[in-house]
Amino acid sequence: MSTLTDRYVFAALRSIPEAQRGDIERELRGSITDDVEARVEGGQPPAEAETDVLTELGDPARLAARYTGRPLYLIGPDLFLDWWRLLKTLLLIVVPLAFVGSIVVRMAIDPGEPAGAFGAAIGTAVNALVHLGFWVTLTFGIIQYNGTRRKDLGLGAWTPAMLPALPRKAQVSLGDTIATVVLIAFFIGLLLWQRIGSLMYLDGEPVLVLQEALWSFWLPYVIALLVIEAGFAVVLYLAGRWTYTFAAVNTVLALLFMVPVLWLLATDQVFDWAFLANVDWGADASGWIAGITAAAVLVIGLWDIGDGFRKAWKASRPVPAQQALR
Protein backbone atom coordinates (compact mmCIF):
# COMPACT_ATOMS: atom_id res chain seq x y z
CA MET A 1 0.00 0.00 0.00
CA SER A 2 1.24 3.46 -0.77
CA THR A 3 2.93 5.53 1.88
CA LEU A 4 0.63 8.55 1.62
CA THR A 5 -2.41 6.55 2.77
CA ASP A 6 -0.32 4.88 5.48
CA ARG A 7 0.75 8.24 6.78
CA TYR A 8 -2.83 9.54 6.66
CA VAL A 9 -4.28 6.56 8.54
CA PHE A 10 -1.48 6.72 11.10
CA ALA A 11 -2.09 10.42 11.70
CA ALA A 12 -5.85 9.93 12.05
CA LEU A 13 -5.62 6.95 14.42
CA ARG A 14 -3.14 8.59 16.74
CA SER A 15 -5.79 10.50 18.67
CA ILE A 16 -8.41 7.74 18.66
CA PRO A 17 -8.72 5.48 21.74
CA GLU A 18 -6.83 2.24 21.20
CA ALA A 19 -9.87 0.00 21.61
CA GLN A 20 -11.49 1.46 18.48
CA ARG A 21 -8.35 1.71 16.35
CA GLY A 22 -8.27 -1.70 14.69
CA ASP A 23 -11.83 -1.52 13.42
CA ILE A 24 -11.62 2.08 12.25
CA GLU A 25 -8.28 1.47 10.54
CA ARG A 26 -9.62 -1.47 8.53
CA GLU A 27 -12.71 0.42 7.49
CA LEU A 28 -10.92 3.67 6.73
CA ARG A 29 -8.28 1.93 4.60
CA GLY A 30 -11.00 0.05 2.75
CA SER A 31 -12.98 3.20 2.07
CA ILE A 32 -9.91 5.08 0.81
CA THR A 33 -8.97 2.17 -1.47
CA ASP A 34 -12.55 1.92 -2.78
CA ASP A 35 -12.54 5.60 -3.63
CA VAL A 36 -9.08 5.53 -5.25
CA GLU A 37 -9.98 2.51 -7.35
CA ALA A 38 -13.19 4.11 -8.52
CA ARG A 39 -11.23 7.15 -9.67
CA VAL A 40 -8.55 5.06 -11.37
CA GLU A 41 -11.27 3.19 -13.23
CA GLY A 42 -12.52 6.59 -14.31
CA GLY A 43 -9.16 7.23 -15.96
CA GLN A 44 -7.19 9.12 -13.29
CA PRO A 45 -3.54 8.21 -12.60
CA PRO A 46 -3.33 6.27 -9.27
CA ALA A 47 -1.03 8.72 -7.47
CA GLU A 48 -3.18 11.68 -8.38
CA ALA A 49 -6.35 9.82 -7.36
CA GLU A 50 -4.90 9.00 -3.98
CA THR A 51 -3.90 12.61 -3.36
CA ASP A 52 -7.39 13.79 -4.31
CA VAL A 53 -9.14 11.29 -2.05
CA LEU A 54 -6.99 12.20 0.95
CA THR A 55 -7.42 15.91 0.21
CA GLU A 56 -11.18 15.49 0.28
CA LEU A 57 -11.02 13.56 3.56
CA GLY A 58 -9.25 16.60 4.99
CA ASP A 59 -7.12 17.09 8.08
CA PRO A 60 -6.77 13.69 9.78
CA ALA A 61 -7.02 15.27 13.23
CA ARG A 62 -10.40 16.73 12.27
CA LEU A 63 -11.57 13.32 11.01
CA ALA A 64 -10.39 11.71 14.25
CA ALA A 65 -12.30 14.31 16.26
CA ARG A 66 -15.46 13.41 14.34
CA TYR A 67 -14.93 9.72 15.04
CA THR A 68 -14.52 10.31 18.76
CA GLY A 69 -17.05 13.14 19.03
CA ARG A 70 -14.43 15.38 20.58
CA PRO A 71 -15.10 19.13 20.21
CA LEU A 72 -12.77 21.21 18.06
CA TYR A 73 -12.98 24.25 20.30
CA LEU A 74 -11.58 25.23 23.67
CA ILE A 75 -14.79 26.52 25.27
CA GLY A 76 -18.13 25.83 23.63
CA PRO A 77 -21.32 27.91 23.56
CA ASP A 78 -22.65 26.10 26.64
CA LEU A 79 -19.89 27.35 28.93
CA PHE A 80 -18.73 30.45 27.08
CA LEU A 81 -20.80 33.04 29.00
CA ASP A 82 -19.89 31.55 32.39
CA TRP A 83 -16.22 31.68 31.44
CA TRP A 84 -16.45 35.27 30.20
CA ARG A 85 -18.40 36.56 33.22
CA LEU A 86 -16.14 34.88 35.77
CA LEU A 87 -13.05 36.16 34.00
CA LYS A 88 -14.36 39.74 33.83
CA THR A 89 -15.38 39.75 37.52
CA LEU A 90 -12.07 38.30 38.71
CA LEU A 91 -10.03 40.71 36.57
CA LEU A 92 -11.94 43.74 37.85
CA ILE A 93 -11.41 42.74 41.45
CA VAL A 94 -7.94 41.22 41.44
CA VAL A 95 -5.99 43.46 39.03
CA PRO A 96 -6.63 46.78 40.86
CA LEU A 97 -5.99 45.09 44.22
CA ALA A 98 -2.72 43.65 42.90
CA PHE A 99 -1.71 47.12 41.70
CA VAL A 100 -2.46 48.95 44.96
CA GLY A 101 -1.22 46.09 47.14
CA SER A 102 2.06 45.94 45.28
CA ILE A 103 2.66 49.69 45.68
CA VAL A 104 1.90 49.54 49.41
CA VAL A 105 4.21 46.59 50.02
CA ARG A 106 7.06 47.94 47.89
CA MET A 107 6.90 51.40 49.44
CA ALA A 108 6.77 49.91 52.93
CA ILE A 109 9.85 47.79 52.27
CA ASP A 110 11.83 50.28 50.23
CA PRO A 111 10.37 53.80 50.51
CA GLY A 112 13.33 55.27 48.64
CA GLU A 113 12.15 54.17 45.21
CA PRO A 114 8.69 55.40 44.27
CA ALA A 115 9.34 55.00 40.53
CA GLY A 116 10.53 51.46 41.08
CA ALA A 117 7.46 50.69 43.16
CA PHE A 118 5.17 52.12 40.50
CA GLY A 119 6.85 50.09 37.77
CA ALA A 120 6.73 46.97 39.90
CA ALA A 121 3.03 47.57 40.58
CA ILE A 122 2.30 47.78 36.84
CA GLY A 123 4.29 44.58 36.39
CA THR A 124 2.31 42.88 39.16
CA ALA A 125 -0.99 44.03 37.66
CA VAL A 126 -0.05 42.72 34.19
CA ASN A 127 1.11 39.49 35.79
CA ALA A 128 -2.18 39.09 37.62
CA LEU A 129 -4.06 39.75 34.38
CA VAL A 130 -2.10 37.17 32.39
CA HIS A 131 -2.24 34.54 35.12
CA LEU A 132 -5.98 34.96 35.67
CA GLY A 133 -6.64 34.80 31.94
CA PHE A 134 -4.54 31.68 31.57
CA TRP A 135 -5.70 29.68 34.58
CA VAL A 136 -9.38 30.48 34.31
CA THR A 137 -9.36 29.60 30.61
CA LEU A 138 -7.35 26.43 31.24
CA THR A 139 -9.83 25.33 33.93
CA PHE A 140 -12.78 25.90 31.62
CA GLY A 141 -10.94 24.18 28.76
CA ILE A 142 -10.44 21.07 30.93
CA ILE A 143 -14.08 21.14 32.03
CA GLN A 144 -15.11 21.38 28.37
CA TYR A 145 -12.71 18.64 27.29
CA ASN A 146 -14.19 16.26 29.85
CA GLY A 147 -17.60 16.87 28.31
CA THR A 148 -18.96 18.41 31.51
CA ARG A 149 -22.13 20.42 30.95
CA ARG A 150 -23.35 23.48 32.80
CA LYS A 151 -25.97 21.54 34.72
CA ASP A 152 -23.34 19.01 35.85
CA LEU A 153 -21.53 21.94 37.44
CA GLY A 154 -24.68 22.92 39.30
CA LEU A 155 -25.12 26.12 37.29
CA GLY A 156 -28.76 27.00 36.99
CA ALA A 157 -30.56 27.91 33.80
CA TRP A 158 -31.04 31.55 33.04
CA THR A 159 -34.18 33.17 34.45
CA PRO A 160 -35.60 36.68 33.91
CA ALA A 161 -34.91 37.37 37.60
CA MET A 162 -31.20 37.48 36.71
CA LEU A 163 -31.70 40.51 34.48
CA PRO A 164 -29.54 43.40 35.61
CA ALA A 165 -31.29 46.61 36.66
CA LEU A 166 -31.44 49.28 33.98
CA PRO A 167 -28.48 51.58 34.28
CA ARG A 168 -30.03 54.94 35.20
CA LYS A 169 -26.99 56.56 33.70
CA ALA A 170 -23.44 55.47 33.08
CA GLN A 171 -22.57 57.31 36.28
CA VAL A 172 -19.33 55.63 37.19
CA SER A 173 -16.98 55.31 34.24
CA LEU A 174 -14.11 52.85 34.03
CA GLY A 175 -11.70 55.70 33.31
CA ASP A 176 -12.66 57.57 36.49
CA THR A 177 -12.36 54.41 38.53
CA ILE A 178 -8.89 53.64 37.19
CA ALA A 179 -7.85 57.26 37.74
CA THR A 180 -9.07 57.09 41.35
CA VAL A 181 -7.25 53.85 42.08
CA VAL A 182 -4.03 55.11 40.50
CA LEU A 183 -4.27 58.40 42.40
CA ILE A 184 -4.78 56.57 45.69
CA ALA A 185 -1.82 54.31 44.94
CA PHE A 186 0.20 57.46 44.18
CA PHE A 187 -0.76 59.06 47.51
CA ILE A 188 0.10 55.93 49.44
CA GLY A 189 3.44 55.85 47.66
CA LEU A 190 4.03 59.50 48.53
CA LEU A 191 3.28 58.91 52.21
CA LEU A 192 5.54 55.87 52.41
CA TRP A 193 8.24 57.74 50.58
CA GLN A 194 8.10 60.34 53.36
CA ARG A 195 10.04 57.98 55.53
CA ILE A 196 13.20 58.75 53.62
CA GLY A 197 12.46 61.11 50.76
CA SER A 198 10.40 64.14 49.89
CA LEU A 199 9.12 66.27 47.07
CA MET A 200 11.18 69.09 48.50
CA TYR A 201 14.91 69.07 48.70
CA LEU A 202 17.22 71.56 50.37
CA ASP A 203 20.92 71.37 49.77
CA GLY A 204 20.49 67.84 48.46
CA GLU A 205 18.81 66.70 51.66
CA PRO A 206 15.18 65.52 51.56
CA VAL A 207 12.86 67.68 53.64
CA LEU A 208 10.69 65.54 55.90
CA VAL A 209 7.55 67.56 56.43
CA LEU A 210 5.58 65.04 58.48
CA GLN A 211 6.32 64.24 62.10
CA GLU A 212 8.11 60.98 62.69
CA ALA A 213 5.75 60.07 65.54
CA LEU A 214 2.83 59.73 63.09
CA TRP A 215 4.29 56.43 61.92
CA SER A 216 3.43 54.78 65.22
CA PHE A 217 -0.25 54.86 64.36
CA TRP A 218 -1.76 57.63 62.26
CA LEU A 219 0.04 57.16 58.94
CA PRO A 220 -0.59 53.40 58.81
CA TYR A 221 -4.21 54.26 59.68
CA VAL A 222 -4.47 56.72 56.77
CA ILE A 223 -2.83 54.25 54.38
CA ALA A 224 -5.27 51.51 55.41
CA LEU A 225 -8.09 53.99 54.88
CA LEU A 226 -6.81 54.82 51.38
CA VAL A 227 -6.70 51.10 50.49
CA ILE A 228 -10.33 50.82 51.64
CA GLU A 229 -11.16 53.89 49.51
CA ALA A 230 -9.65 52.15 46.46
CA GLY A 231 -11.75 49.07 47.17
CA PHE A 232 -14.81 51.31 47.52
CA ALA A 233 -14.11 52.88 44.10
CA VAL A 234 -14.00 49.42 42.50
CA VAL A 235 -17.21 48.27 44.22
CA LEU A 236 -18.86 51.48 43.06
CA TYR A 237 -17.79 50.83 39.48
CA LEU A 238 -19.14 47.25 39.62
CA ALA A 239 -22.45 48.56 40.93
CA GLY A 240 -22.51 51.11 38.13
CA ARG A 241 -24.27 53.90 39.99
CA TRP A 242 -24.51 55.70 43.31
CA THR A 243 -27.10 54.78 45.92
CA TYR A 244 -27.83 56.37 49.31
CA THR A 245 -26.07 53.41 50.92
CA PHE A 246 -22.95 54.20 48.92
CA ALA A 247 -23.28 57.87 49.84
CA ALA A 248 -23.51 56.90 53.52
CA VAL A 249 -20.44 54.64 53.28
CA ASN A 250 -18.63 57.45 51.45
CA THR A 251 -19.55 59.82 54.28
CA VAL A 252 -18.24 57.44 56.94
CA LEU A 253 -14.96 57.03 55.03
CA ALA A 254 -14.60 60.79 54.60
CA LEU A 255 -15.29 61.43 58.30
CA LEU A 256 -12.84 58.69 59.32
CA PHE A 257 -10.24 60.72 57.44
CA MET A 258 -11.33 64.29 58.22
CA VAL A 259 -11.93 64.09 61.96
CA PRO A 260 -8.57 62.61 62.99
CA VAL A 261 -6.63 64.78 60.51
CA LEU A 262 -8.34 67.98 61.67
CA TRP A 263 -7.73 67.00 65.28
CA LEU A 264 -4.07 66.24 64.54
CA LEU A 265 -3.71 69.59 62.76
CA ALA A 266 -5.38 71.44 65.64
CA THR A 267 -3.08 69.84 68.20
CA ASP A 268 -0.06 70.44 65.94
CA GLN A 269 0.86 66.78 65.52
CA VAL A 270 1.17 66.73 61.73
CA PHE A 271 3.99 68.87 60.43
CA ASP A 272 7.59 68.74 61.37
CA TRP A 273 8.27 72.47 61.43
CA ALA A 274 11.99 71.92 61.32
CA PHE A 275 11.90 72.50 57.58
CA LEU A 276 10.74 76.10 58.11
CA ALA A 277 14.12 76.91 59.53
CA ASN A 278 15.57 76.53 56.06
CA VAL A 279 13.08 78.71 54.18
CA ASP A 280 12.03 82.26 54.70
CA TRP A 281 8.25 82.20 54.64
CA GLY A 282 7.64 84.59 57.51
CA ALA A 283 7.29 84.20 61.23
CA ASP A 284 3.78 82.79 61.38
CA ALA A 285 4.31 80.38 58.46
CA SER A 286 3.45 77.39 60.65
CA GLY A 287 0.13 79.02 61.49
CA TRP A 288 -1.10 79.63 57.94
CA ILE A 289 0.25 76.37 56.53
CA ALA A 290 -1.71 74.43 59.15
CA GLY A 291 -4.73 76.68 58.57
CA ILE A 292 -4.75 76.26 54.78
CA THR A 293 -4.26 72.51 55.13
CA ALA A 294 -7.12 72.25 57.60
CA ALA A 295 -9.36 74.34 55.36
CA ALA A 296 -8.48 72.19 52.33
CA VAL A 297 -9.18 68.95 54.23
CA LEU A 298 -12.48 70.37 55.45
CA VAL A 299 -13.65 71.72 52.06
CA ILE A 300 -12.60 68.67 50.03
CA GLY A 301 -14.08 66.32 52.62
CA LEU A 302 -17.43 68.13 52.78
CA TRP A 303 -17.57 68.43 48.98
CA ASP A 304 -16.87 64.68 48.69
CA ILE A 305 -19.69 63.86 51.14
CA GLY A 306 -22.13 66.22 49.41
CA ASP A 307 -21.15 64.98 45.96
CA GLY A 308 -21.92 61.39 47.00
CA PHE A 309 -25.43 62.34 48.09
CA ARG A 310 -25.98 64.53 45.02
CA LYS A 311 -25.06 61.61 42.72
CA ALA A 312 -27.22 59.20 44.73
CA TRP A 313 -30.13 61.61 44.39
CA LYS A 314 -29.56 61.99 40.64
CA ALA A 315 -29.36 58.22 40.20
CA SER A 316 -32.55 57.65 42.18
CA ARG A 317 -34.69 59.80 39.89
CA PRO A 318 -36.66 57.70 37.42
CA VAL A 319 -35.28 57.97 33.91
CA PRO A 320 -37.03 56.49 30.88
CA ALA A 321 -35.30 53.38 29.57
CA GLN A 322 -34.65 55.03 26.20
CA GLN A 323 -32.67 57.81 27.78
CA ALA A 324 -30.75 55.48 30.03
CA LEU A 325 -29.51 53.46 27.12
CA ARG A 326 -28.24 56.43 25.23
Binding site: R26, D35, A38, L63, Y67
Partner: protein, 112 residues
Protein backbone atom coordinates in the same frame (compact mmCIF):
# COMPACT_ATOMS: atom_id res chain seq x y z
CA UNK B 1 -29.76 35.55 -5.60
CA UNK B 2 -26.58 35.48 -3.53
CA UNK B 3 -25.10 31.99 -4.05
CA UNK B 4 -23.35 31.95 -0.71
CA UNK B 5 -26.53 32.94 1.10
CA UNK B 6 -28.57 30.29 -0.68
CA UNK B 7 -25.87 27.68 -0.12
CA UNK B 8 -25.77 28.40 3.59
CA UNK B 9 -29.52 28.06 4.04
CA UNK B 10 -29.71 24.94 1.87
CA UNK B 11 -26.99 23.33 3.95
CA UNK B 12 -28.88 24.20 7.11
CA UNK B 13 -32.09 22.78 5.72
CA UNK B 14 -30.48 19.53 4.59
CA UNK B 15 -28.40 18.89 7.67
CA UNK B 16 -30.72 16.37 9.28
CA UNK B 17 -31.81 14.68 6.08
CA UNK B 18 -28.56 12.70 5.68
CA UNK B 19 -29.56 10.48 8.60
CA UNK B 20 -32.94 9.97 6.98
CA UNK B 21 -31.33 9.00 3.68
CA UNK B 22 -28.80 6.67 5.32
CA UNK B 23 -31.44 4.78 7.31
CA UNK B 24 -33.55 4.51 4.14
CA UNK B 25 -30.76 3.20 1.89
CA UNK B 26 -29.33 0.85 4.53
CA UNK B 27 -32.54 -1.15 4.82
CA UNK B 28 -30.45 -3.18 2.40
CA UNK B 29 -26.88 -3.76 3.68
CA UNK B 30 -24.26 -1.34 2.40
CA UNK B 31 -20.65 -0.33 3.08
CA UNK B 32 -19.04 3.08 3.50
CA UNK B 33 -17.90 4.02 0.02
CA UNK B 34 -20.86 2.32 -1.67
CA UNK B 35 -23.24 4.34 0.51
CA UNK B 36 -21.33 7.53 -0.32
CA UNK B 37 -21.91 6.91 -4.02
CA UNK B 38 -25.56 5.98 -3.53
CA UNK B 39 -26.15 9.17 -1.57
CA UNK B 40 -24.36 11.21 -4.21
CA UNK B 41 -26.52 9.65 -6.94
CA UNK B 42 -29.64 10.42 -4.90
CA UNK B 43 -28.65 14.08 -4.70
CA UNK B 44 -27.23 14.13 -1.15
CA UNK B 45 -23.79 15.68 -1.43
CA UNK B 46 -22.24 14.33 1.78
CA UNK B 47 -18.53 14.54 2.47
CA UNK B 48 -16.74 11.27 3.17
CA UNK B 49 -15.28 12.71 6.37
CA UNK B 50 -18.80 13.39 7.63
CA UNK B 51 -20.40 10.13 6.52
CA UNK B 52 -17.89 7.62 7.91
CA UNK B 53 -17.97 8.96 11.48
CA UNK B 54 -21.78 9.34 11.18
CA UNK B 55 -22.19 5.63 10.36
CA UNK B 56 -20.26 4.70 13.49
CA UNK B 57 -22.32 7.06 15.60
CA UNK B 58 -25.59 5.61 14.29
CA UNK B 59 -24.24 2.13 15.00
CA UNK B 60 -23.33 3.15 18.55
CA UNK B 61 -26.86 4.49 19.01
CA UNK B 62 -28.21 1.10 17.97
CA UNK B 63 -29.84 2.38 14.78
CA UNK B 64 -27.48 0.39 12.54
CA UNK B 65 -25.96 -3.05 12.91
CA UNK B 66 -22.71 -3.99 11.24
CA UNK B 67 -20.79 -7.06 10.15
CA UNK B 68 -17.52 -7.63 8.36
CA UNK B 69 -17.75 -9.32 4.98
CA UNK B 70 -14.43 -11.01 4.36
CA UNK B 71 -15.56 -13.03 1.36
CA UNK B 72 -14.53 -10.51 -1.25
CA UNK B 73 -11.11 -9.34 -2.37
CA UNK B 74 -11.14 -6.65 0.31
CA UNK B 75 -12.86 -7.00 3.69
CA UNK B 76 -15.73 -4.54 3.99
CA UNK B 77 -17.83 -3.44 6.92
CA UNK B 78 -21.49 -3.69 5.99
CA UNK B 79 -24.11 -1.67 7.82
CA UNK B 80 -27.81 -2.51 8.01
CA UNK B 81 -30.65 -0.49 9.52
CA UNK B 82 -31.69 -2.23 12.76
CA UNK B 83 -35.22 -2.75 14.03
CA UNK B 84 -34.81 0.32 16.24
CA UNK B 85 -33.45 2.21 13.24
CA UNK B 86 -36.53 1.34 11.19
CA UNK B 87 -38.81 2.58 13.97
CA UNK B 88 -36.86 5.82 14.18
CA UNK B 89 -37.00 6.18 10.40
CA UNK B 90 -40.79 5.76 10.46
CA UNK B 91 -41.10 8.44 13.13
CA UNK B 92 -38.80 10.80 11.21
CA UNK B 93 -40.70 10.22 7.98
CA UNK B 94 -44.02 11.00 9.69
CA UNK B 95 -42.52 14.25 10.95
CA UNK B 96 -41.11 14.94 7.49
CA UNK B 97 -44.56 14.51 5.95
CA UNK B 98 -46.24 16.72 8.51
CA UNK B 99 -43.58 19.41 8.01
CA UNK B 100 -44.00 19.17 4.27
CA UNK B 101 -47.76 19.56 4.64
CA UNK B 102 -47.44 22.50 7.02
CA UNK B 103 -45.00 24.39 4.80
CA UNK B 104 -47.19 23.75 1.77
CA UNK B 105 -50.22 25.06 3.59
CA UNK B 106 -48.41 28.16 4.77
CA UNK B 107 -47.36 29.06 1.23
CA UNK B 108 -50.60 28.23 -0.48
CA UNK B 109 -52.48 30.13 2.21
CA UNK B 110 -50.49 33.23 1.48
CA UNK B 111 -51.06 33.08 -2.26
CA UNK B 112 -54.86 32.84 -2.04
Amino acid sequence: MDDELLGGHLQELRRGTVVLACLSILKRPGYGYGLLEALDKAGFAVEANTLYPLLRRLEKQGLLTSSWDTGEARPRKFYTTSEQGRELLEALLRDWDSLHGSIRQLNEGRQS
